[in-house]
Symmetry: none
Subunit: 402 residues, 2 copies
C-alpha cells in the first residue's frame, strides 16, 4: 500500500520511555551454499532462542526482485520510501567522512583507478592502503584548487576511495557517473542529464583531465573514477518524525552518512563489533533508539567468502547477551538487503527480519534464518513497514481512527 507512511506515523506517534535497538547485519540474507545459508550454517544459540520469543518475517527492501543499494536498503528500514528518496552515494560518503556539505555544493564519491592507454585496468588501483591513498589525495589538493569559478576540494577516504566536493554557483547533481563500472573498458566522462547540469558536467570533465595529468607519474593511482554526484538532500528528520532520541553506531562512512542525513546522532566507536557494543552500553541512557550496524556480513558476502560471513554471524550471536543485558524493550535483528556469498554482490532476495518484545505473538519459529523468517508470523512485509512495527512494539503509536 503506497501511502506516505511517515505522514501517517507522525500523526499517531507518541514520545515514550521504551528503548529500541535496530541491529542491522548488512547483507545478512543469503542463498544456500552446499545446502545451507550462512545463517543456517552459523551456530547461533542466542539468536535462535530469541526467535522462539519473537515475531519473524521477511522484508522486501524496495520491490520484489529489486536489488537495493545500501542507501535504499537503509532508508526503507528507517521508514523512508526508498523510491521517493533517492540519495546519491556521494553525499553519503561525504557525510560519513565528516565532510561539511553546504546547500549549493555538489559532492561525489571517487575511486583511484589504474588506467593504461585510456582503458581502466583496475577500478580500485590495486586497493592501496588508506595511508598511501591519502598522500595522493594531498597531491591533488595541492595541484587542483579551482576550475572555472568552482572551488574543488578533495577529502581522503578508506583505501582507494576519496570524496570530491565542488563549491560554487549554479551547480547541479543531475549527471551521469564518470565511471565505466567495469574493467577493460575505456574511461568515461560525465554527461549532464539536463540543461541546468551542463556547467557542472564541464567542470567535472575538466577536473578528470587535470587529475589525469597530475597523477600521470603514479604507478597505480593514475586516474580517478567519479560517481554518485549529489547535493545535500533535505529529508524528514528521524528524531522529529518518530519522536525518538536516535543515535547510530556504525563503523563505515556510508552508514554514518545515511544516519546523519536522517538526523540521527552518530556516535564515535571503534572498529570491532565488541567496540560497537561497548558504545551501545556507554550511551544507553542518552538515547532511546539505537541503530546498530554490522558491516562485515556484507563485505564477506561481496568477497564470496561464505565461511567468514558465517563467522561474523557467530560473533554477533555471541554478543547478543550483552545487548539483552541492557534490557531493551524492542530488539530487531535484520539486514538492509541480501548479499549471498555465491553471488558476490547485493541481491534482490527477501531479508530475514526478527522483532523481539513482550508483545510478539511468538512461539511459531524455532531459529533465525531465511526459511523460518519466510514462514514467520509477520509474513512478507516491505522494509518500509519496519518502523511502524518497531514503534508499535515500543508502545509508541496511538490507534489509527475511531
Amino acid at each position: 500500500m503506497n501511502y506516505d507512511r511517515q505522514q501517517i506515523l507522525s500523526e499517531i506517534v507518541q514520545p515514550g520511555q521504551s528503548k529500541i535497538v535496530l541491529l542491522v547485519m548488512d547483507g545478512i540474507g543469503d542463498l544456500p551454499k552446499d545446502g545451507k545459508t550462512a545463517l543456517q550454517k552459523a551456530k547461533t544459540p542466542n539468536l535462535d532462542r530469541l526467535a522462539t520469543e519473537s515475531d519473524l518475517g521477511q522484508t522486501i527492501p524496495v520491490l520484489a526482485g529489486i536489488t537495493p543499494g545500501s542507501g535504499p536498503g537503509h532508508l526503507a528500514l528507517f521508514g523512508y520510501d526508498p523510491v521517493k528518496y533517492q540519495i546519491g552515494r556521494g553525499i553519503l560518503e561525504a557525510l560519513g567522512s565528516n565532510v561539511p556539505v553546504g546547500e549549493k555544493d555538489v559532492v561525489a564519491r571517487a575511486n583511484f583507478a589504474t588506467i593504461r592507454d585510456g582503458i581502466v585496468v583496475d577500478r580500485r588501483a590495486g586497493r592501496p592502503s588508506t595511508e598511501e591513498s591519502s598522500k595522493v589525495v594531498e597531491k591533488l589538493s595541492k595541484s587542483i584548487k579551482e576550475i572555472k569559478d568552482v572551488r574543488v576540494t578533495f577529502y581522503p577516504g578508506k583505501e582507494h576511495r576519496f570524496v570530491v566536493k565542488l563549491t560554487g554557483e549554479d551547480l547541479d547533481d543531475r549527471l551521469t557517473d564518470a565511471d565505466p563500472q567495469k574493467e577493460g573498458k575505456p574511461i568515461l566522462f560525465t554527461e549532464p542529464l539536463c540543461e541546468e547540469a551542463k556547467k557542472t558536467s564541464e567542470v567535472v570533465n575538466e577536473l578528470m583531465e587535470q587529475i589525469g595529468s597530475v597523477l600521470s607519474d603514479e604507478q597505480k593511482m593514475n586516474f580517478a573514477l567519479i560517481r554518485g554526484f549529489s547535493k545535500y538532500p533535505r529529508l524528514p528528520q528521524f528524531p522529529q518524525v518518530y519522536k525518538l532520541r536516535a543515535c547510530a553506531i556504525a563503523t563505515y562512512p556510508m552508514y554514518k552518512g545515511i544516519a546523519k542525513l536522517v538526523g540521527m546522532e552518530v556516535l564515535e566507536t571503534g572498529v570491532t563489533i565488541q567496540d560497537e557494543v561497548n558504545t551501545l552500553k556507554n550511551s544507553w541512557d542518552k538515547y532511546d533508539f539505537f541503530y546498530f550496524h554490522v558491516k562485515k556480513t556484507d563485505s564477506y558476502g561481496e568477497d564470496g567468502d561464505f565461511d567468514s560471513k558465517v563467522h561474523v554471524i557467530e560473533e554477533v550471536d555471541s554478543l547478543i547477551p550483552q545487548i539483552l543485558s541492557l534490557k531493551p524493550d524492542v530488539l530487531v535483528v535484520t539486514g538492509d538487503h541480501s548479499t549471498p556469498a555465491i553471488l558476490k554482490s547485493h541481491s534482490w532476495h527477501a531479508v530475514p527480519f526478527m522483532i523481539w518484545s513482550p508483545y510478539t505473538r511468538k512461539g511459531l519459529s524455532r531459529s533465525f534464518d531465511e526459511f523460518e523468517c519466510a514462514r514467520g508470523s509477520l509474513g512478507t512485509i516491505y522494509a518500509v513497514d519496519a518502523m511502524s512495527l518497531i514503534l508499535s512494539h515500543g508502545l509508541r503509536l496511538e490507534k489509527f481512527g475511531a
Copy 2:
C-alpha cells in the same frame, strides 16, 4: 499496491445468486497467554473442520504495525481504503443509534463523566445503566435547546454514552476532541483545526459549560466529554459497487453505523449471538451478502478477560453448524483487528482470516488460529483485499483483461 480496488472491482463485478456470509469476530486476533492465544485455547471443532476445507491467511487492517480503530478495521474489510476514508466516531455512533443526520449537521459522541474541581476523575461516570443515563440525557434535552443560532439535540446511548447533534449553518467538524482521554487530567475544551471551524468550536465549548451547570447537582454524571466530531461522509455505496443485496446483523451502534454508512440494510436483532443467527436465518432469502458482527470477543479482550474471550469463541463455534445449514456459498471468518487480552486494547497484530467455499485450495491448514493463518495458503494480505477474494469465491467477478 495502492490501486483503487473498488474502481477495479466495479468494472468486473457481476450480479449473481451466491450467498455470502462475512462473520466478523471483533478483535479476534490475540497474543499468547500461558503459551496459547484465545483461538488456540478455545475448543473449536467446527471452525477447525472448516479450516481443513478453507483457505487461510492473515490480514493487515491498515498497514503493518498500525493499530486500527473499529472504523478503519471494518471499512477495510468492506473494501474501502481506510486511509482514504477516515470517518469520525461521532457519525458512526449517531447512525448506529438511529439518529437522523442531515448534510449540514455535526454530530459527536459524548460520555458522561465525573469531575471534581475541574479534574476528570471517572471518564465513564461509574458506568451508569442505560436507563439511568437516559434520564440525564432527558434532563439535558429539556434545559439546552439552542446555542447561538445552532440547535442542539441529545440522543441517549448505551450506558455512559450519548450523542450530541448540532444543526445550523456553517458548521464544521474539524475540531479537536473535548476529552483529555485520561483520568486525573483537567477537562479539555475543543479547539478549531481551521478558521471555518471556529464558530462550531465556540458552540461546543459553550455547550460544555451549560452541560456542567445543568448537571452540577448530579453525583456521578456531572459532566460530559465530547469527541469524534463529524459530518455525514459520502461513501461509495456497497450494494451498488459490488452489486450485492447486503445487510448487517450487529448488536452495537458503532457497527450498525458503519454498515449504514456504506449503504447496507441494518436488520433488527436481539442481543445474543443466537439471536443474530436467528436473524440471519429469517432474512436468508432477502439478501445475498450478510455482514455478521460478534462484539464480545473484542469487549472481553479490552477487559483483559482471556477466558471469557475463549468462551465467546466457543459459543460462535457452536453456532457454525446453524450457519452452514443455510448452505452459504462463501463463508468468511475473520476479525476487524486484534484485541489481545494481555494488552487490554486493540493492537497492530495481523488478523486471522479464513475463507470457505467450494473453490478454495484447502488441505494446508488443520485449525483456525493465528499461527495456521500466518502459514496459510493466502499468505499475509491487506484487509482491503478481502472483498475481492470474497466476490471471486462467490463467482461474481469476471476476468480482468483479455
